[in-house]
Amino acid sequence: MAKSTKLKILWLQSITCNGNTHSFFSHPDFVTLMQKFEVIYHPLLDSVYSLENVINKKLACDILVVEGAFRETGMQKANQEIYAIAKSYAKKAKHVITVGNCSTFGGVFRLYDTESIGGFCFNDETPNEAYKLFKKKLISLPGCPAHPRWIGNLLSMILSQRQILLDNFHRPLEVYGYNAHAGCPRSEYFEWKVDSKNYGHKEGCLFYEYGCQAPYTHANCNKILWNEVSSKTRVGTPCFGCTEPYFPKKDLWHTNTLMGIPASMPMGVPRRAYLTITGIAKSFSIKRLNEPIIKYKK
């Protein structure tokens, strides 16, 4: 077999729902993109090697992708601790990508046991021992799941040796430099403080009562959209803040308030500034924003 010059991707899963893998499968250019790499192992794809090969042969890899939450012991694949296997490949790889909230911060699985379960390099927002070892090559793609284009674009940037600028949690700024509120068609309702009356409605903002975390969640969901067409807030369901270390909060469908004031402010906005602006905005009644966008004939 001729030796491949393609970058080698090793995709390892710990405990996971497969959500990030399936998300990536729906990338419109998935096949074309992946043909540019050599997938030495992926649990759901035809790969060059089997899991046993991965564990036993200590293969070479350029890009390690990890999916799912980790714990030091008790999560085994083929009778081997998956965290130990992932760390051994992370030492060799040029890039370590944690895909999804679980592998980045611990996500949903961390709620089961916050003492022992966490992300590959972070437990919530706290860096762990692995972080010290791999911080120079770590790229975080949190999300529940990560958007297919976040994964695809990152791989393309690595392929073309583009500079990848990261935030404090090692999230690429190209994606996480925005907040999920940017591009939301409900922003006019947010500005004028007009609440949504229920889920699934075209009108109203979901920030005040229905738990929307978009104004303080780092993601470009409303800029690039999901399945090329939509987003949670566009269809009238709140953003759950799935790219953040504190995900998942409890009571996702309800805004936590302090005597009527949202407990979490829009990103970087002081509470006093927010109240000053919204107090004025709410005093005006904008007729157009309190009516249905489309009045359907009965």
């Binding site: 302090l258 005597m259 009527g260 509470r271 000053t276 107090g279 005093s283």
Partner: protein
Amino acid sequence: MKAETKRGKKKESIIKAALTLFSLNGFHKTTIPDIARRIGMSTGNIYNYFASKDILAQEIIKYTSEVLGTEIRKINQQETLSTHEKIHKIVEVYFTMATKKPEMIEYFLRVYLSHREVFVGECDKMICVAGFITEIMIFFADGVECGDLRDQDFFSAFGLFMGYLGGMAFLNGEAILPRALEDYIDDIAYNIYNALKA
């Protein structure tokens, strides 16, 4: 003195004179010429600063709200104070104002609340008292966040707090209270805290 500063000071002197007259003689009985006479200005010149008596009335409520709001903001920013201590200080600020500058509170009670037809348009709902309301909202939010106050609807807490203080200031203004307003500070702060605590 820069022209802008000079103009600002002149505006403030008109507001202060009008505030006193409105509070003493009532909104309708006070005329622009009365205000002009009090500060030695021509009636026509007043209109260079305020286009109408209604607009002047709106500016006054904004002014009083800002003065009170600034005092409460200073209390909110003292992070070492407990919520009970903050309540005590807010009550103290309010009653001191009702005693030393009674026109500020009288204006709110006798003009702002009694002549709602004047406070419309740009003063609709609570816009012109936003400076004060914002600080009360912050006080409540901080109190709930630190676990001292019970979470509830803003207005149910606001009504209990400010309705109580306004009522006492009104009774004081009517000379009904047997004791000086400041004598009630401890008890009222205690009552408010107990009513709102978690």
